[in-house]
């Protein structure tokens, strides 16, 4: 496992270099001049041609593209992710400030998804084709078709504006994270419930479960002790990928609930053609994604020792 982990960590270097290059190229081919955008502020101020030229020089945009990228990569290897084109703030500093907000949001969303997703999946499988199962499956279908932003606005209207139980926005205690976490988690919760149900039912249809059932083993033991450990592996993989997905997909929740995380930072960077900010973001999320994949692999191995890591013998 150690060798596998090392291999995985080493594979990070070309992966990160590759995705940062792609991010850089995508930024460059997108229409819009970062210098002009940084100065004009969407038509609020009036950048002159001379100002734009001076800003381009300051940003290093007058240099050939390979030089720009090589310079950024060289600095990144030394731990310097550069300065944001739009704010002038060091990118590393901005990401360090924003990442905990997104991680916290992701953790809350993950908690809700794991807990309710697996719980509803178990209940649904245990009471297959009975009222509980039908209700959960129906609810899952409805939830899956709800747009996240709509749900967010609806929750704000009900729980913040009318009932005043929860704050509309901002970073505060657990209460402030509840609505954003629910917004982020409902769809995956439904998917996790469905996946848990189908995986459990598949396991419960296998001979060892049928034999156990025939020998009179109780349903609790059959489902939770015997079938669940085998059925949980694909669910864990789903949830792991989902956690990584939150890092890039939390922008709606972050914007609506005024949470200054890295999702909203990336969107702002795209809008402002802020290449250093965007590349820094890509680097961090890429890094986290690879780490998560590694953790999932190890976790899967712990849950099911029969799995072979890295496809080796």
């Amino acid at each position: 496992m150690l060798r596998y982990s090392l291999q995985k960590i080493l594979s990070l270097i070309p992966v990160l270099a590759g995705i940062s290059l792609i991010a850089f190229l995508l930024g460059v081919v997108s229409p819009g001049d970062p210098a002009e955008i940084a100065l004009s502020r969407g038509g609020m101020s009036e950048a002159t041609r001379e100002q734009v030229s001076a800003m381009r020089r300051e940003m290093g945009l007058d240099l050939p593209l390979p030089v720009q990228y090589a310079r950024w990569l060289g600095n990144a290897l030394k731990g310097d992710l550069g300065k944001s084109f739009s704010t002038g703030e060091p990118v590393g500093q901005a990401l360090a400030r924003r990442l905990p907000v997104t991680l916290r949001l992701a953790a809350y969303a993950m908690l809700l998804t794991c807990f309710f997703g697996i719980l509803f999946g178990i209940l649904s499988a245990a009471y297959k084709d009975r009222t509980v199962d039908l209700c959960i499956r129906g609810a899952a279908s409805v939830i899956l078709s709800l747009p996240g932003f709509w749900l967010a606005i609806l929750m704000i209207l009900i729980f913040a504006e009318n009932l005043r139980w929860l704050p509309t926005s901002g970073v505060g205690g657990a209460k402030s994270m509840l609505m954003p976490a629910v917004t982020l988690s409902v769809a995956t919760m439904a998917t996790a419930a469905r996946l848990t149900r189908s995986a459990l039912l598949t396991e419960m249809g296998k001979q060892y479960c049928l034999a156990a059932n025939a020998r009179g083993i109780g349903k609790y033991r059959l489902v939770v002790r015997n079938a669940l450990p085998n059925a949980i592996v694909p669910v864990v993989t789903l949830l792991g990928n989902y956690f990584g997905g939150i890092l890039g997909g939390s922008v709606i929740a972050e914007t609506i609930f005024a949470l200054p995380g890295i999702g909203s930072y990336a969107v702002q960077a795209i809008y402002m053609r802020d290449y250093p900010a965007l590349q820094g973001y890509v680097l961090i999320t890429g890094l986290i994604y690879v780490i998560i994949t590694l953790v999932i692999d190890i976790l899967s191995l712990v849950l099911n020792p029969k799995i072979r890591l890295g496809g080796g013998a």
Binding site: S30, P31, G32, I37, A38, L39, R41, G42, G43, M44, S45, E46, A47, T48, R49, E50, Q51, M55, E58, K83, S86, T87, G88, E89, R97, R98, F115, L119, L123, A126, I153, I156, A160, E161, R164, L166, P167, T168, S169, G170, V171, G172, G173, A174, K175, S176, L178, G216, I217, G218, K219, Y220, R221, L222, T255, I256, A258, P260, Y271, R273
Partner: protein, 530 residues
């Protein structure tokens, strides 16, 4: 399922439900602590006039050390040498008075005495020189306006201290309208001790304003405290917290939920939401002239808009009252003048609407044929779609069939620059009330917006008038020239103006003194109502 299995299963469900209950309680217990925003999140007693007032804005109004201004002028933390009044005229602030030399090349400023920065440093000519030294270091990026000495002081040759409270600027050429260039964001003053070697702030900005910053959590909120040593009329509120709430609907909900007492900054509240508050017993909307003008740009480098008659036809066919009334809740003023109405140089020009005349002019250009046009709109502004559809329906009556394309702003600008469009919806802010910049940008062949928007506009008479204006030391003559330029702009339409915008702010009626200004509100005047 046998009995023991059933019991175990029930136990499992019971444990799960208990866990849910505990989880909910955990959520409640943590959240029962004052949420970020502190006391402001709860209804505040009307008798406690010192209770914190929370406000909300769409962006971070105190971006911090790397921003050229640290925070926006609307927080009243720093003050400029020269401010701008409601009519756009320069008015004294830290400079009590000023005078221009006869040749227009020297400006002398007499500074206010007895003023201290928040860190206790005295405000005097040395401090002003230190601030100019800082500006000389190069353009400072900002979320508000780029802090660039060449923009605010074009042709500046030297700056110097005359005595402790007198300061002088010398220019290469006559600069009769310099005072307009340097209002508000053009002459911010900070304690010289709060800059680092690069001219960035080394900590919280130390200005001279009626408020000082006591806490700044980037991207979340900034807390202002009354400056009890302020030299002028002190602020009424003791503490103000300005929160960052980017989403307009969330800001609106936060206002209605009592988490914030008002919204400030640009885009404080969309018209569609402001209309809902118009007749509310608990909330009010305050308005003021905005420096923003909304207009249509037309591609004057190709047929049919290279013909002035076609531009005139479009302007005549537009029902600007309907746009403002039906789509913007009446918060705007129709105009055909390229110059925004918040400057003292603005000339009132009647808006003409005449469909028959428009049809006649269009027929002269198009003949009996109809023309299909590409109408570009900004996908980031939802109202633009409805607006374009409305305009499209009027233009169809003069033989123009528009095809609406919604693009992201930067892509849209690229299309404009490349001339790959016919009509587009744009907007422009007036950075100061001296209109020379606006005229030169849109009406001179060398003007950057003339090129950026492929306007293809050229009028030899305009070039001549602009040349004359740039040399005119007599303000009356300058105003006369500006009047002529405005008249020409509303006859030849380098762009086709739609309406002048309005600054909209909404607030809870628990507050008093909440009055919108062209940018921001009079923050020192707001207080809890008795």
């Amino acid at each position: 399922m046998n009995r023991s299995a059933k019991t175990k299963f029930k136990k499992l469900i019971a444990s799960i439900l208990s866990a849910i209950f505990i989880f909910s309680l955990a959520g409640c217990s943590e959240s029962s602590k004052a949420p970020q925003g502190g006391s402001s999140a709860k209804p505040v007693s009307s008798v406690n006039k010192d209770a914190e007032i929370a406000l909300g804005g769409y962006r971070d109004l105190a971006p911090g050390e790397k921003d050229g201004y640290y925070c926006s002028s609307i927080l009243y933390v720093w003050e400029p040498l020269v401010r701008q009044d409601d009519n756009g005229s320069p008015t004294p602030c830290l400079a009590e008075s000023w005078e221009m030399s006869k040749d227009g090349k020297e400006w002398t400023f007499h500074l206010k005495k007895g003023v201290q920065f928040h860190d206790g440093q005295p405000f005097n000519a040395d401090a002003v020189v230190a601030n100019f030294d800082r500006m000389k270091l190069g353009i400072k990026k900002s979320s508000f306006y780029p802090l660039d000495i060449n923009t605010f002081y074009p042709g500046l040759k030297a700056y110097s201290k005359v005595d402790d409270y007198t300061f002088k600027l010398t220019f290469n050429n006559p600069a009769p309208t310099q005072i307009y260039n340097m209002v508000n964001f053009g002459s911010p003053m900070y304690s010289p001790k709060c800059f680092d070697k690069e001219g960035n702030f080394s900590g919280i900005a130390q200005g001279t304003g009626p408020f000082k910053i006591i806490e700044n959590v980037k991207d979340q909120y900034v807390v202002l405290s009354r400056n009890d040593n302020y030299y002028g009329t002190k602020a009424k509120a003791k503490t103000i917290r300005v929160k960052v709430i980017p989403d307009a609907d969330t800001r609106f909900s936060a206002l209605k939920a009592g988490e914030i007492m008002g919204v400030i900054d640009l885009n404080a509240i969309p018209v569609s939401l402001a209309v809902k508050l118009k007749d509310s017993p608990d909330f009010a909307v305050t308005t003021c002239k905005s420096t923003m003008i909304r207009f249509l740009t037309v591609n004057g480098t190709k047929f049919p808009f290279n013909d002035v008659r076609m531009r005139q036809a479009v302007s005549l066919a537009l029902k600007r009252d309907s746009i403002v009334g039906d789509l913007y809740g009446g918060f705007g003023t129709p105009t055909t003048n390229i110059l925004n109405y918040s400057t003292p140089f603005y000339k009132e020009i009647p808006v003409e609407e005449n469909l028959e005349k428009a049809k006649k002019l269009a027929k002269e250009v198009l003949g009996d044929k109809r023309r299909e046009l590409v109408f570009l709109i900004n996908s980031g502004e939802v109202t633009q779609k409805a607006e374009a559809e409305l305009i499209g329906s009027w233009l169809s009556e003069i033989g123009l069939d528009v095809k609406i394309q919604s693009l992201e702003m930067n892509t849209l600008k690229e299309q404009l620059k490349a001339g790959k469009y016919d009509i587009a919806r744009m907007q422009q802010g007036l950075s100061n009330s001296e209109p020379f910049t606006i005229f030169s940008r849109f009406m001179l062949p060398s003007g950057d917006q003339n090129k950026n928007y492929s306007l293809g506009y050229h009028n030899a008479n305009v070039d001549k008038l602009m040349e004359e204006a740039s040399a005119a030391l007599d303000m009356a003559r300058r105003k006369e020239i500006y009047n002529q330029l405005q008249q020409i702009s509303s006859e030849e339409f380098p762009v086709i103006p739609l309406f002048n915008d309005m600054t909209l702010m909404a607030y809870s009626k628990k507050l008093t003194g909440y009055q919108a200004r062209s940018y921001g509100i009079d923050l020192p005047d707001i207080a809890w109502k008795d």
